[in-house]
Structure formats: C-alpha cells, structure tokens
C-alpha cells in the first residue's frame, strides 16, 4: 500500500489528490500547509471574548491555547472550525478564506470538542467506523479494532458505549485521531477524564502527528508535553 504523499507545492494539486486507499500510519504530509488568523474578534452575548487576534500556524507546529475558565478558548476553536462567525477578521487556509473553501477545508480538519460525538446505543467499534465514514474514510473492521485496542479499549470494542466509563468514552472519541488523515487537529481539552496512561498515549500521538508534519491546536488545563518541537502558546486574557 502506498502512503498518501503530497510532494508538490501547489495547493490545487494537493486538493486533487483524493480518496487514495491509504494507511494512516504511513501518511506523511510533506506539503507545507498554513493556517493564518488575522485580526480575529469574537463576542458572545455582551461579552467581547477576544479581539485583534493574529497568528499563523505551519505544518509541524503545535499551539496551546491558554486561559482561565470562560476566557474564550472553546469559542476560538469553534470559530476556527467555522461554527461561529467571527465579528471581525479572517481565517485563511493556504491563503484562501476558509468560508470560501468550505468542504475543502473541512477535509483537512479534525475537531474534538467537549462533547464526544459518540452514540450511547452503538458500540465503540460502530461509533469509530461511522465517524470515520463521516469524514470520508472507509475503515475496515480490523483496522478499527486495532485503533481501539491501542486506545486501551481491548475487550470493550463491542459493548454499547453507554455502559463505558467516562474515561473510556473519551478514549473512543480520541480513537479518531488514529484513523484520520486530517492535517490540522483542533482538540478541546483532549485530556478530560483520562487517566495517566491515556495522557501518555495522547502525548505520543501528538508527537507522531507533528513528526509527519501535521498541525495541532489544543487547549487543556492539565500539563501536556510534546517532544521534538517547540510548543507555542497563546494566552487569552
């Protein structure tokens, strides 16, 4: 199986390389991507959460959004995903406004919010395969099981998710990281409810993703270390 390789420097060419049967473990985003945020402002209700926010994130970089409870971290991440219309400012992917790119941008993004996006009635296995399907990846059963095992869910793959513990549910959601081909990971408190082993695993996953030139933006109130690259951080007041 050939890995999914994008070697050109042209964005449109990169866009057209699609639906290759691929092995996520071998993916290497050799193409250089860039997310550029300029002068972003967002308010909820009467509160102005942030304004004049500008930064750029390139392939292989990781950024932590810091801030107290209610400072607007989640709102920022959701704005980056396009759920919230910013009051002002622009978010550009490869220089193009993400609202114009729409689905072409979404295909590059993996978002994991406070909510796990899993169905209580379905098993971990079904959940993972369906959410992969939604992001356009056909995942066969054995790959899915392998991913769940790596997340420490051995023996729980076929239980309905509603009987799992809080941490196990979060692990099911996080298993998407293992099977996704997205470049930009947007993670909102990925460590919530996880025990120490799981935290170490997530750190490992981030390292792997960054090593193959992925990009990560995340928030967390717990300490999280990445090896190899410098972690940038952005503080919301």
């Amino acid at each position: 199986m050939r890995p999914f390789e994008i070697v050109g420097g042209d964005y449109k060419a990169a866009q057209s390389v699609e639906s290759i049967v691929y092995n996520p473990k071998l993916v290497n985003f050799r193409f250089v991507f860039m997310l550029e945020v300029s002068n972003l402002a967002c308010s909820r209700g009467d509160h102005r959460l942030f304004a004049g926010l500008s930064f750029a994130l390139h392939s292989g970089q990781v950024m932590q959004i810091q801030g107290a409870n209610g400072s607007g971290k989640t709102s920022l991440l959701r704005t980056l995903c396009g759920f919230i219309q910013p009051d002002e400012g622009k978010i550009a992917w490869q220089g193009v406004d993400v609202r114009d790119l729409a689905e072409d941008y979404f295909a590059r993004v993996l978002y994991l919010g406070h909510l796990n996006a899993i169905k209580d009635e379905l098993s971990a296995l079904e959940n993972l395969r369906i959410s992969a399907g939604l992001s356009g990846i056909k995942l066969n059963e054995s790959d899915a099981i392998a991913a769940l095992r790596r997340m420490g869910l051995k023996g729980r793959e076929r239980l309905p998710v509603k009987v799992l513990s809080q941490g196990q549910r979060r692990r099911v959601a996080l298993a998407r990281l293992l099977v996704s081909d997205a470049v930009l990971w947007i993670l909102d408190e990925p460590l919530a409810a996880l025990d120490v082993n799981a935290v170490a695993l997530i750190e490992e996953l981030l390292d792997e993703h960054l090593a193959k030139q992925g990009m990560v933006i995340f928030t967390t109130h717990q300490p999280l270390k990445v090896a190899g690259v410098e972690m940038r951080s952005l503080s919301l007041s």
Binding site: F83, V109, K119
Partner: protein, 225 residues
C-alpha cells in the same frame, strides 16, 4: 454521483441501526398511530356511515401527528452528543447527509404506517379500492412530511419547548399534503378521478426532495452557531 449515493446510504443505515437499537421508538410511533386511529370510533360513536366517511381524514391526520411525534429526535440526539458538529465538519455536502437522515426517518416513522393502513382502513369499513388509494397517497405523502418536518426540526434544534414549537412551525406547512392526500381518497369514494390528486402529491414529493435537504442544511448551520 456514486460517492454521494454511498454517503447517503451510509448515513441512512446509521440512523436505521440506531433506531433498531432502541426498538421502542419505532414501535411507539406505530402504536401511537394505531391508538389515535382507534380512539376515534370511541370518541365519535359507532355509526358506520360516518366512520367510513371520516376514515381517510382520521388516518391522514394521525399519520401526520405520528411523524411529528418522532421528528423531535431527528437531529436533537446528534446535537446533544456532538455528532452534528462532526457532520457540519464532514468534507461532503451537508445536504446529502440531511437527505440520508430524512430517508431513515421516513423508513422508521412513515413506512410502517403505510403498511399498517390496510388493517385500520378495514376497521373503518372502507371499500378496498379506497384503501388502495389511501395507501398510495400515504406512500407519496409521508416522505414529504418527513422532509418538511426536518426543516422544522433543524430550526428548533436545542430550543426548549422543542416538540410543540416544532409542530407549530411544521403543521401549517404540511396542510397541502394532508388535503391532497385525503382529497384523493375522497375522490375515489365519490367515484371521481383521483389521479390528479396523486400526481399533485407526486409533484410535491419531487419539489420537496429537491429543495428541503438544502434548506434543512442551512437551518442546521444557523442553529449550530
């Protein structure tokens, strides 16, 4: 094209699997339908003539209400557990996803009613031909109810008073379906031609299939903000 079809089938299958997991949901829609229809003779009295005349109207209104009853869950479960966010982020057309969900909803809450109709029609002593036309009209009409309903469900997402507000928005929009549907049966019992009613229903179905997925997708984007 093929890819879109695959996606549609995947989404619909997912919703069907979910519905089957909670078999109670499917059954309650059906039971609700049967109950409401059977309650009428109790409330109105046992005069056969009148009952026969009422039958198509009662069946249609009950079907409308039954599909309304299950609409609340169409998007709200996905909304509450965060799946809807993921759907908005899917690198495929949201309209197709929505169409898939509409199809699944119809198969769970519309199709069983259509299949149940002959039994209930005979309970009301309807002539056989009328029962056939009633089934046909329901077959054409209930998908439209699911589709229009989906718009309402998307608009009322996450709002309190969901179920009732939803019906307030959707019921007025569904009235033409109701009228053409019962009109067809009325025409056949009066010995008139019913094909014009049915073709109007068909036209509504096509119209709805073309426009409602897009509208509902827009409504979802608005509601998620």
């Amino acid at each position: 094209m093929n890819k879109i079809l695959l996606l549609l089938i995947m989404v619909a299958r997912r919703d069907l699997v979910l519905a089957m997991r909670r078999r109670a949901d499917v059954l309650t829609t059906l039971i609700f339908f049967v109950m409401v229809v059977s309650l009428f003779p109790l409330g109105v009295g046992p005069e056969t003539d009148m009952l026969r005349k009422m039958a198509p109207g009662v069946l249609w209104v009950s079907a409308l209400l039954a599909s309304m009853l299950s609409l609340g869950r169409l998007f709200s479960a996905d909304y509450l557990d965060g799946t809807l966010e993921q759907m908005l982020l899917a690198p495929q057309s949201l309209s197709v996803l929505v169409l898939g969900k509409m199809a699944a909803h119809w198969m769970v809450s519309g199709l069983p009613l259509v299949l149940m109709t002959p039994v209930l029609g005979l309970q009301f002593d309807m002539p056989l031909k009328a029962v056939g036309v009633l089934m046909l009209s329901l077959l054409l009409g209930t998908p439209v109810l699911s589709m229009i309903g989906a718009i309402g469900a998307a608009l009322t997402l996450g709002l309190r008073g969901g179920g009732v507000l939803l019906s307030l928005l959707v019921l007025p929009l569904c009235i033409p379906v109701l009228i053409f549907g019962t009109g067809a049966v009325g025409a056949v019992t009066d010995g008139l031609g019913y094909s014009s009613h049915l073709s109007l229903l068909g036209a509504l179905l096509v119209l709805a299939a073309v426009f409602t997925p897009w509208v509902a997708a827009q409504a979802l984007r608005i509601s998620m903000e």
